[in-house]
Symmetry: C2
Subunit: 376 residues, 2 copies
């Protein structure tokens, strides 16, 4: 099927752009001398992750145990669940380990570490546990210098659990847009996570894994000394948020929403399309950035951005396209009813999640349907 024959709205992935993104990040990580463990929450799509592994990725990162289950069933064995483990989810993690999954889980509290150790002991497994380290004041994790770091390490008790390492995610990198600040944040993420690993080792704990990462820091790091693996997710598709941060060009964005013009309000310069927020997602990640793209950048059917036209407003199944700055009173001629357009997303993870599949476009114009999943 060709792109112009697809029913709209739908999500399309440009395969060659995606492959370029995969190869570029893998090359960076190879050069920096670390394993690369992509975060599959962005795509939740087997075909995408197979391409990441084919390029050299070692293991995957997941944001839900459902992702772990789906990817394990598809043959991916080495999985890091990168959200703090909590007691009621241990049964699901246990079942994966009992099926043979090389699952690693996360904690940042004595309460959770103790619950994991106890549950492992009772059930005759040893959970591999990483301690989450807070390197950027952004979200979860323990400060590398805190006493709590050693308290949690002590609470990860054999035989139910063993300390597999430390991990951090510098989510604060999403708030930056200057190269020097990005380089500094990458160095902060690296160095502070390494400090945590060294403190644990000095206290007699083995700490084989030192796992760091985010897409902005991955594109900016000059050194990853002391780090064993890097994680990043959104780089595989990139998006307008990453474009504003400065770690990709507009033509590196592999994901878009295909849509059809269904009407106009000519005097206002509006073209109304069938991609509302149900298709684009409600993500307004560019709202506070240097360019606010509304609900997305408008492109032609081939994916070429049409300068100045954004999805400026969205209802559930209606998107409103207009020209920023100056009303296009001939919008009904610019984009007649039936015109097919593509919308670049603010945030690829959020937009992808609005769909149950991607249509992957090959350079010859043919499309293939790639399933993806959602939920927990």
């Amino acid at each position: 099927m060709l792109i112009q024959d697809l029913m709209t709205p739908t999500a399309v992935v440009d395969k060659s752009i995606m492959q370029h993104n995969i190869d570029a990040m893998q090359a960076r990580m190879n050069q920096l001398g670390v394993n690369f463990r992509p975060h599959v929450k962005t795509s939740k799509c087997i075909e995408v992750v197979r391409a990441q592994v084919a390029a050299g990725a070692k293991g995957i990162t997941v944001s839900t145990l459902k992702e772990a289950e789906e990817f394990f069933s598809a043959g991916f064995n080495d999985i890091l669940y990168a959200v703090g483990m909590v007691q009621p989810k241990l049964k699901q993690a246990l079942a994966l380990i009992q099926r043979g999954c090389d699952l690693k889980i996360l904690t940042d509290s004595v309460a959770s570490a103790s619950a994991i150790s106890e549950f492992g002991r009772e059930n005759g497994v040893t959970f591999q546990v990483l301690i989450e380290v807070d390197t950027d004041d952004h979200r979860s994790g323990i400060k590398p210098e805190s006493d709590q770091l050693l308290d949690v390490a002590h609470a990860i008790k054999s035989p139910g659990a063993s300390l597999a390492g430390v991990m951090t995610h510098a989510g604060a990198s999403y708030d930056l847009d200057e190269t020097s600040a990005l380089i500094a944040m990458a160095e902060q993420e690296r160095s502070r996570c390494v400090v945590a690993a060294m403190r644990l080792r000095q206290a007699g704990f083995p700490c084989p894994i030192v796992s760091v990462g985010s897409t902005p820091t991955g594109m900016s790091a000059l050194s990853l000394e002391g780090v064993t693996e890097f994680r990043a997710g959104v780089y595989v598709f990139f998006d307008l948020v990453m474009h504003n941060i400065g770690v990709c060009q507009m033509d590196d964005i592999a994901l878009s929403v295909l849509t059809t013009v269904i009407g106009h309000q000519e005097e206002k310069g509006w073209a109304i399309v069938d991609a509302g927020w149900m298709a684009t997602s409600r993500d307004r990640g560019t709202q506070k950035q240097k360019v606010d793209f509304g609900y997305g950048q408008v492109c032609d059917l081939k994916g070429k951005p049409i300068d100045g036209y954004h999805v400026t407003s969205a209802n559930q199944e209606h998107g409103i396209i207009s020209r920023v700055g100056q009303i296009d009173r001939s919008i009904a001629k610019t984009f007649p009813v039936g015109t097919m357009l593509r919308i670049l997303p603010n945030h690829a993870c959020a937009t992808g999640a609005q769909f149950s599949s991607f249509h992957a476009i090959s350079p010859d114009g043919n499309t293939a349907k790639w399933s993806r999943f959602n939920g927990w």
Copy 2:
């Protein structure tokens, strides 16, 4: 299964609150003397819509042809597809009509009306077409006084199409929060749609259906004279946006996201939960309203709001709960790891869409799983 045994994050619906909302809106419409055609885009759930029809609803409104297909397959026959029809979707609409569906479709342009008429004639069916009227400058539709109204009516040509009526949606009512303004908007929606119907009738067109509606105007209308049917969707669950508009109380909100505390940052007063934006949706509908609830209002496991605690920030699978105005430095004692909480949503349509099912809670505390669907 009891609510405390559910895996988080998940979406729960309080059945008695939902039933109260259904009964109250139906009673209003009965009193105002119009048919009520609920918009099923809010729930996309057969059990919910069965309850709406059991209470007296006549027909349903859908936002996608997928909804039309799913509900027609489940036995709902009288369906209005309330998004402007465009050529490539006519095949899907035709298939529904050929299966016996009493489907009504929408247009607001000569181009689309002609395409519909032509396609109907070629395929031996008569599409029932409503003209979309713009009564509030909000989105799609034709101004009731415009020449275009009659042009489009003329373009709806027998035998491929017949003019079934006019419809409007006063989406601008979402920007209001005062009773008098809401009453005025309801009257504007009514009167301007009736003007369109009268102009068409004066020009010799039959115009049997006069369909108006939105939840805020439905809760505010004093008269619906000249209107034949009313449509509303979100009232079935209500949400924080509707609460801010002033058309529901906090305890009228039937939908919430069940979540578990997975960690803390005590010095910042943060409790971190496993409901990130993948569960709440990215909808920030209360951002510009009188109370900004962040990503939602925190409630205890029974659904009672905990004053001042909001989901103030969200990443994909992490929500951050904090007390608004004053840091709660004992948040780890307020909400220990493992605590289950419920989050009231900004926008029920968007939050519901993040899930493939609802857990409906009965007054006895038991839950039943109700499937819902997404996509196009």
